[in-house]
């Protein structure tokens, strides 16, 4: 059964991961721009990263039959230096014509600071100006609840349609507000520190299967590029229907991502 991992950082993964994902049924991925694990020190570093996301990674992915898409931004972890963040944002339009760009992401907040919020607002304005989809990162752990609320208000203030915005990393205390306000919601499956496949399926059972997806957010840290197929096994273990499993891991991602004309899938 085909699936989509709509949030994974493949620049940090090996070709073995691509192979195993393809073997598990992965047919498409989307890769948001992310923090490298250290702060990049120049705009040129970001220009190279955006070239990697728009040229190198799609070619690598294609060798495994996986359609690759991307989202561009400067990550909230690097937004505390608002001046530098603005310089990076100024080069994003150079890449918006690349055929695999879906929108702006993963933008959002990290520690809920004023500078982060300013940079988020500037990214939202960029998305509005170019009519792009938005993929939102919400803060982790103690900062998530507050950050999610601040982000939803910022999106509303920017005049963006919540139907074109996906708010990622939702958990038990944020999923309800995100869906109630008309956004799409993403659940990120982590090996141990945050949301497990079991809890993600609990959330689906409580909140339903509309406007929600699951992703691995696999990156250079502790993470699992096969988290989505593992969550599908968890759904099957609980006797959720094949139709529900397909809806969460294929149909819903297709429905949201197809709001960008650049989303394509051969499955």
């Amino acid at each position: 059964m085909s699936y989509i991992d709509p949030h994974i950082h493949m620049v940090s993964r090996t070709t073995d991961d691509y192979r195993r994902m393809a073997q598990a049924g992965c047919v498409a991925i989307t890769e948001p721009a992310f923090w490298a694990g250290f702060d990049r020190c120049s705009v040129e570093g970001f220009r190279d990263y955006f070239r990697q996301l728009t040229q190198v990674e799609p070619a690598r992915s294609a060798r495994y039959g996986i359609a690759h898409h991307t989202w561009l931004c400067i990550n909230p972890k690097e937004a505390e230096d608002a001046g530098f963040a603005r310089e990076v944002m100024s080069i994003i339009p150079e890449f918006l014509d690349a055929p695999n760009v879906l929108g702006i992401g993963e933008i959002g907040l990290n520690k809920n600071s004023r500078n982060e919020l300013q940079v988020l607002e500037a990214h939202l304005a960029l998305a509005a100006a170019h009519d792009l989809l938005v993929l939102v990162h919400t803060p982790h752990l103690e900062d998530k609840l507050k950050g999610t609320m601040l982000i939803m208000d910022a999106v509303a203030n920017a005049g963006l349609d919540p139907d074109r915005v996906l708010i990622d990393h939702v958990e038990e205390h944020t999923v309800g507000a995100v869906l109630d306000r008309g956004f799409w919601a993403g659940m990120t499956l982590y090996p141990d520190t945050k949301c497990t496949p079991q809890r993600a399926v609990d959330i689906l059972e409580r909140w339903g299967m509309n406007r929600i997806w699951m992703n691995s957010a696999g990156d250079w840290g502790d993470s699992d590029p096969l988290a989505v197929p593992k969550a599908r096994m968890e759904m099957r273990r609980r006797r959720h229907s094949a139709e529900s499993i397909r809806r969460i891991t294929f149909d819903n991602p297709v429905a949201f991502l197809s709001r960008s004309g650049n989303f394509r899938i051969d499955a």
Partner: protein
Amino acid sequence: MSDARCPLNAAEIVDAYFLEHRAKVLDIAAFLDRIDRAADAPAAMDYRVAALIECIALLLDGEGDRARRIQERLSDRTSEPVDRAPMQGAMGAPEADG
């Protein structure tokens, strides 16, 4: 919202998950014991451990919606942006209200 049901019946849920969660309770107990045995014991209670113990109390109050309530107990409940990001990571429990 869906009908909020898990398709498994209660006995099936217990059969499927009991051992995993039995082990997690033992992990918490051993973690607290380990703090008692720390090289500098007895040390002052860390705010994160205090929060964890309050979360355990939430499990015993007879109310439902436990996961959401624990998440909220472990969240910063202020609403204004902070002036500066104090670090890039997160600690897992809010420091201010302990």
